[in-house]
Symmetry: C2
Subunit: 452 residues, 2 copies
C-alpha cells in the first residue's frame, strides 16, 4: 500500500517518533470523551514537541489541503478533538513545559501541560491558577483554552479566558504569532487572544499561553443544604448570588445524589429533593450568610463546616457525579446555561423530559452560574433507549434556548452540539462567524466539519 | 453652497433634530479630551435616538463611502472619537436607557448612558456595576466598551470586558447583530462580543449591552502609606499583590502629590517621595495585611481607616490628579502598562526622561495592575516646551515596550498612540488586525485613519 503524500511529507519534515501512522497506535487519538460521537480515521497523528513542529505540520497540511484536528489530553466532552477521516491529528501532549514567574505572577505554559500541573507549579510559589474543570487532574491547558473551560470555582474566580494574558498561536499557514503579553491591563489593538480562546481549534493552534496567577486562596468554609424540591433550591441560589460571591455553588438533584451515594456515600437520607454545596473563603462572614439564605428558602437541612477536609469530601463527591452516573449507562452530557432566575423552571423541565422520554436524567450543575449538566443516560445495548435519549438531549437544548440560555456553558460545541449552534446564534451571527473563520483559515483546514 | 449628497440622504432618512450640520453646532462634537489631537470637520453629526437610526446612518455611510466616527460622551483621552474631515460623527448621547433585571443580575444599557447612571440604577436594587474610570460621572458606557475601560477598582473586580455578557452591534453595512445574551457562562461559537469591546469603533457600533452586575460591595478600609522613594513603594506593591487582592491600589509620585496638594490639600508633608493608597473590603483582614506589607517595605508613614468618608476623601483626591495637573499646563496623558516587578524601574525611567527633556511629568497609576499615567505637562504657548514634551511622551512609550509592557492599558490607542501600535504588535499581528478589520468593514468606513 502506498504511503499518502502528506504522510511522507510529515515523516520527512519531523523527527522520528513525532509522527504515528500505524492504526493501532492512532486508535487512542481518534476519540475524546464524547462517547456517542463516531470519529474518523486520521492519516497521521503528529505528536509535536515544539512550536516549530506545529508550524511544520500546519505548513504541510496547508500545502496538501489536509484537515488538522488539534488535540490536548483528549478529555473533551463534546467531540471537539475527535478525528475526521483523512485528517492529521495534531497532539500537543508532549509540549508540557510550565514555568512560573513569581514576582510577575504569571505562568508560561505549553498546551500539553495538565491543568493540575499548572496548579502544582504555581503552588510552589504560594500562587494559584483557579480554573478547575472537574477533570483538572487529567485535562490539558490547551484543551481548557480551546473550550474556554470553566469549573466549580469560576462562579467567584472566573473562567479560563479571564486568566489569559498572552498567547502564542500558529495560524493555518504556519505563521506563529504572539498576542498580548504579561501585562495585566492591555487594550492595544483588538482582543485577538480572546478570539482564539474558545475557538476549539478552528482558527489556529495555541502553542503557549501566559496565564495570570493569583495569591493562594484562603481555605474554604463549606455548606451543604438539602431541599424538598428544586423550586426552594433555586430560590436559595438566587438569594445567595444577589448577596454573596461564593467560591463554588453546586446543585445536585435526587437522581444525581442517588448515583453518587451508591458509589461514595455522603450520608444523605433517601428522599432528598435536591442538594446545594457551597464554598466561601473561611476568613469572611459569607459562609454564615449562605447558610442563612438556605434556611430562609426552607432548606430541610443545613450544615456549615470550616474543616477543609470535610469540605473537600463533599466537593469530591460532587466531582465524582459524572463517573458515578456513567456506571449506570452511556451518558450524553448536556452543558446548558440559563439566567439564574430560570433555574427552577429549567430543572423542572428536565424532569418532565425525563418522564416523557422514559430516560434517566440526573442533573448536576454550577448553579451560581446557571450552568447545568443534565446527564442523559441510556443502556447502550438498547436501540430504543438510545433513540429516546437523543430526543431528550435535543429537547433539553431547545428548552435552554427558549429560556434565553446557551447550548454550552463550558464544554464547547464540538461535534455533539454542532447542529444546535445555528439555533442559538441565528443566521447573521453564523455568517459573521464564517467571515472570521474564512479570514483566518481560508483553506478551511482547521478542525473542519464540526461547527464552523 | 450646495448640500453634500450624503448630508441630504441623512436629512431625508432621519427625524428632524437627529442631524446637525451647522459648524457651530458641530464644534463640540469634533474633539474628545486628547488635548493635542487636531480634529477634522464632520460633514454631519448624527445624534441617533435608536438602533434603527444607527442602522440608517451606517447604510447611508456605506452607500456614500463616508467615514463614520462613533462617539459616546467625548471624554476619551486618546482621540478615538475625534472627527476626521468629511466624516459623519455618530453620537449615541441620546441612547440612554438603563434597565436592571435584578433577579438575573444584569443591566441592559444603551451606549449613551453614563457609567454613573448604570451604577445608580443598579444600586437601587442593591446591585453594583464595578468598572470605575476616574471619569465615571461623565463618561458613557459606549465609550467604556469601545476602549475596554478600566479604572481604580479593576485591580480586584476586573475591567469593562469582564462585565459584558451580551452586545447588540451594528455592522458597517447596517446589519444589527446580537452577540451573547444574559447567560453568565456561554462558550457557543467565537467570543465575538469581546472582539468588539476595545475595538474603538473600528468594527461596528455598539447599540446595546447586557452587563453583568454584582452584589453591592462591602464598604472599604483604606490605607495610605508614604515612602521615601519609589523603589520601596514598588516593593510594597509587589508584596501586596502577591498576598492580597486589594479593591484599589493607587500610586502617586512626589510631583503628582504636590499638584493635588495645591488644589485640595491631603495634608502630606513636603518631601514625600511617593504615596500608595489602597482599599480592601472592610469585613476582611486584608487592610491590616496591606498596612503590614507597607511597613515591611520601609514606608515612612502608614495609616489605616475603616471610615468610608475618610477613605473617599483620599480616593477623591487621587481621582482629582489629572484635572489638578491640567491647571499647570497642557497634558499629554500616557497610559502605559508594565509587569508589576518593573514598576520601580519604570517610575525611575520616567523621572530620568523628565530631567533629560526638562519637562514636568507627574506620575499616577493603578499600581496593582502595573498601569501608569505619566502626565507629560507643558506650557502650550512655548513651542520648544511642546517639542520636548513630545519627545518625552514617545520615549516613555518606548521604555514601556522595552520592559515588555503596553502603550495603552485602558484609554485606547486612538489618534494619540496610533503611530506606536506597530512597535507593540509587530508586523504579523498588525496584518491579522487588518485581516479582521477588512473582513468586518470591507469599505473601511468605521473610524478610519486612526490605528487600523
Amino acid at each position: 500500500m502506498s504511503e499518502p503524500a502528506v504522510l511522507r511529507a510529515l515523516l520527512d519534515a519531523l523527527p522520528a517518533g513525532s509522527v504515528l501512522s500505524d492504526p493501532d497506535q492512532m486508535e487512542g487519538y481518534r476519540y475524546d470523551r464524547a462517547m456517542t460521537v463516531r470519529p474518523g480515521m486520521p492519516v497521521a497523528v503528529v505528536r509535536a514537541a515544539s512550536t516549530a513542529e506545529v508550524q511544520a505540520t500546519l505548513r504541510i497540511a496547508s500545502r496538501f489541503s489536509t484537515p488538522v484536528v488539534p488535540r490536548g489530553a483528549g478529555t473533551g466532552l463534546s467531540g471537539g478533538s475527535s478525528a475526521v477521516d483523512g485528517c492529521i491529528t495534531l497532539s500537543t501532549e508532549r509540549m508540557r513545559a510550565v514555568s512560573v514567574d513569581a514576582p510577575a505572577m504569571v505562568a508560561t505554559v505549553q498546551p500539553g501541560a495538565l491543568n493540575a500541573e499548572v496548579k502544582a507549579e504555581a503552588r510552589r510559589f504560594g500562587l494559584w491558577y483557579p480554573p478547575d474543570p472537574s477533570s483538572f487532574e487529567i485535562c490539558s491547558i490547551g484543551g481548557n483554552l480551546a473550550t474556554n473551560a470553566g469549573g466549580l470555582c469560576c462562579v467567584r474566580y472566573g473562567v479560563t479566558t479571564d486568566y489569559v494574558l498572552g498567547l502564542e498561536v500558529v495560524l493555518a499557514d504556519g505563521r506563529a504569532l504572539r498576542l498580548g503579553g504579561a501585562t495585566i491591563k492591555d487594550v492595544a489593538g483588538y482582543d485577538l487572544k480572546r478570539l482564539f480562546v474558545g475557538s476549539e481549534g478552528t482558527l489556529g493552534v495555541i502553542t503557549e499561553a501566559t496565564l495570570r496567577l493569583r495569591p493562594l486562596g484562603p481555605l474554604p468554609s463549606t455548606i451543604a443544604a438539602t431541599f424538598a424540591d428544586v423550586v426552594d433550591c433555586g430560590r436559595a441560589v438566587a438569594r445567595i448570588m444577589a448577596t454573596s460571591r461564593p467560591a463554588a455553588l453546586e446543585l445536585m438533584d435526587a437522581a444525581a445524589i442517588a448515583a453518587v451515594e451508591r458509589v461514595r456515600p455522603m450520608g444523605f437520607e433517601a428522599g432528598v429533593g435536591s442538594l446545594l454545596i457551597g464554598q466561601c473563603p473561611v476568613d469572611t462572614t459569607e459562609g454564615a450568610r449562605l447558610a442563612a439564605a438556605c434556611e430562609e428558602c426552607d432548606a430541610t437541612y443545613v450544615a456549615l463546616t470550616d474543616d477543609p477536609a470535610e469540605g473537600e469530601l463533599l466537593m469530591g463527591a460532587r466531582r465524582m457525579a459524572i463517573p458515578c452516573v456513567e456506571r449506570l449507562g452511556t451518558v450524553l452530557i448536556e452543558d446548558i446555561g440559563v439566567p439564574i432566575p430560570r433555574i427552577p423552571a429549567l430543572v423542572g423541565a428536565v424532569a418532565e423530559v425525563a418522564e416523557r422520554t422514559d430516560t434517566m436524567i440526573p442533573v448536576i450543575g454550577h448553579a451560581g452560574d446557571g450552568n447545568f449538566h443534565p446527564l442523559v443516560t441510556f443502556d447502550p445495548h438498547d436501540t430504543s433507549a438510545r433513540a429516546r435519549a437523543e430526543v431528550a438531549f435535543d429537547r433539553i437544548i431547545e428548552v435552554a434556548l427558549e429560556m434565553g440560555g446557551t447550548i454550552t456553558g463550558e464544554h464547547g460545541v464540538g461535534s455533539l452540539k454542532a447542529r444546535h449552534l445555528p439555533g442559538q446564534l441565528g443566521a447573521d451571527v453564523l455568517e459573521l462567524t464564517g467571515t472570521i473563520k474564512r479570514a483566518l483559515d481560508p483553506g478551511g483546514i482547521l478542525n473542519p466539519g464540526k461547527w464552523v
